[in-house]
């Protein structure tokens, strides 16, 4: 992993560090988000909390899809494993940041094992191999009843506490999630916009060239996968804190696919774009969908179709190369 930290000559090196404008933007955005519960109704705050959780998942996936060029259809495996680990830890007495940490570590370990298998494949084969990993993980969650609760999931997860206060109200849960969301997003930004990001983009654009330059590309890709998995695990831990329930569906194909679609909708070109895609998916599926007499999936389908036709990307294309090319 040494080459991750090295700053060898690489094509199109972006500005390192955080510009004043960007820093101001981040600070203003965070403040605006932090103030949201003051002017939003409880349900809107709850929805926004879901968006933050799902947005962090999508943003971590974008590190793989947009930056490294690895389209994963199994990212929910790490999200779900993180959620289960955090929920299990919280149920067994350690709620709050400790549970989140356990979630992150377990998710990173699973990502390490899964990644060791997956990084050799590329394109649609990577897509399907990660799908298989996701489905096998979900199946394990379904079968390992003594730990995961089987198909009914882990329920009754205690709310996190901070300085003796139980964070179980919409606003307090939101602030708790927001805090760690910001941490996760900054970590993602750091990796994708600084030196390691340059290397990762180089691998996306031409793995052969980067290998010729002396980079151990397989190890670097594995490193990126573990990092993205760890952030997804953080998002999973936040899901457990917010939803107070983890079920096999959180690990499975549908969650992975929605996260991937959120990335595509939001655009892979920026580190925060996927959060917008996630916001739209959550609003359409959860808030709008529940009121449509069962036509929620239709609304989601129309959203996908409209986005593709009406808002063509001008941003970096995702490299899902044909295997034969």
């Amino acid at each position: 992993m040494t080459s991750l930290a090295q700053t060898r000559a690489a094509p199109a090196r972006p500005r390192l560090g955080v510009g004043a404008r960007t820093a101001t933007g981040i600070a203003a955005g965070t403040l605006l988000l932090a103030a949201a519960p003051l002017y939003l109704a409880p349900y809107a705050t709850t929805t926004l909390t879901r968006i933050l959780v799902f947005g962090l998942l999508a943003a971590s996936l974008n590190l793989l899809v947009g930056v490294v060029g690895l389209p994963s259809l199994g990212h929910a495996a790490f999200f779900g494993v993180g959620a289960y680990a955090a929920a299990w830890t919280a149920i067994h007495g350690l709620a709050g940041a400790g549970a989140l940490l356990v979630g992150v570590v377990v998710a990173a370990l699973v990502a390490l094992v899964a990644g060791a298998v997956a990084v050799r494949a590329s394109g649609v084969f990577f897509l399907m191999l990660t799908l298989a990993i996701g489905e096998l993980t979900q199946q394990a969650a379904d079968s390992w009843e003594s730990v995961t609760g089987g198909s009914n999931g882990l329920y009754g997860v205690p709310a996190p506490t901070l300085f003796g206060t139980v964070l179980d109200q919409p606003a307090t849960t939101y602030w708790y999630v927001l805090g760690f969301f910001v941490v996760g997003m900054l970590a993602l930004r750091l990796v994708s916009t600084s030196a390691p990001g340059v290397v990762l983009r180089g691998i996306r654009d031409s793995e052969d060239r980067m290998r010729a330059l002396g980079y151990r590309t397989t190890a670097i890709k594995l490193g990126a996968l573990v990092f993205a998995g760890a952030v997804a695990g953080l998002a999973g831990g936040l899901l457990a804190a917010q939803q107070r329930l983890v079920t096999p569906a959180d690990v499975g194909f549908e969650t992975s696919a929605l996260a991937l679609l959120a990335v595509v909708i939001g655009g892979t070109g920026s580190w925060w774009g996927p959060c917008l895609g996630a916001a739209l998916v959550i609003v359409v599926r959860d808030s709008l969908g529940a009121t449509l007499d069962g036509h929620g999936p239709l609304a989601l389908g129309l959203l996908f179709v409209l986005v593709v036709y009406l808002l063509p990307t001008g941003i970096a294309r995702i490299r899902l190369r044909r295997a034969a090319s």
Binding site: L40, A41, S151, Y155, G156, G294, G314
Partner: protein
Amino acid sequence: MTGINRRTFLGISAGLGVAGLTGCGSSIGAAAASGDGHTVKVGLVIPQAGVYTPLGVDIQRGWDLWLRQHDGRLGGRRVTTVVADEGEGPQTGVPAVQKLLQNDRVDVLVGIVSSATALGVRDLVTSARRLLVIANAGAGAITGTNRSPYIWRTSFTNAQVAAAMGRHLAESGVRRVYAIAPDYVAGTEAIKGFSNAYRAGGGTIVGQSQPPFGKTQDYQPFLSRIQSSGAQGTFCFFGGAESVAFVKQYAQFGLSRTIPLYASGFLVEGGVLSAQGQAADGVLSTLHYTSELDNPANTAFGQAFRSAYDATPTAYAVQAWDAAEVLSRAVAQAGAVDGDSLAAALGSVGVLTDSPRGPWSFVQQSPRQNFYLRRVRTRAGAPVNSVVEDLGPLDPES
């Protein structure tokens, strides 16, 4: 740059979506309930999309029919029903309940088909101190180990339905049975409920299988096992599309001629029965209801249901009908619609003697009710579950 345009557009529409769909105000401070003494707002949580939709339709029909016959009032208060789509599981079900509680500010929740959703909303409902009447979900834990004083059930427990069959088979001299149910919690509960009752009566389980839930289209590998097990009968628990596939394949592979099929009644309840066609003929099952029950309440209910919807009533519809009935009594008795008053009132509601399913009462917040042995046969060109025997009452989770 078009990329910026897309993101800007998405940001604006998502922001508008959050605000527009969910309303502004503040999340700080306690949410006030709506009760003004004359109305009650009910959130009906049912699957309207996905594989459980037929159950959702039946539950809504049972609920609507009761209200229509009672002047749209529960315990004297005018009812507003807000329906939310539960979807296929907690991923959509939990947000739907959140929406009803936090956005629509409903007084009472009714419905929920998925056990995982029912277990998952426990803390939400409990901390909001609103009453939830479960109209289907059958996991034992809902009113057992994960009990909440605010969650009551008018349906069944998975183990209870299966135990009725276990007890009956043991008593009727079937000595060796193969048990099969999908590999998920409800399937496991059904097998356990059946096995405990059956073994207690002296029967032997000669083998059991749990095919992957929702991922099995072809039961042939499991059918071969049943054939070679030497069983005198097969006990099974399946629902929805799986029940159609299983019953048809059981007949197609020639098992129905040699090894009779016994089931938890969901196998042959509702729309799946007509899809099974000839293959279901003669299947014996236990359930707390069948449209063929001969009692005055069911005769009236059946006529009203058929004339309103041109369909045969199901256990799912009765569960919702009874949910409305007990709620009405509780509202009238409590004189209030907050969760604590309603829960207390439900505790003293006693025996319901005029339910279409026969008399039943709450034991540990779930029905103690009669079970019926039913046989599929054709009546007037359509398959029905005729009553073979009243097996008497069972406690929940027995």
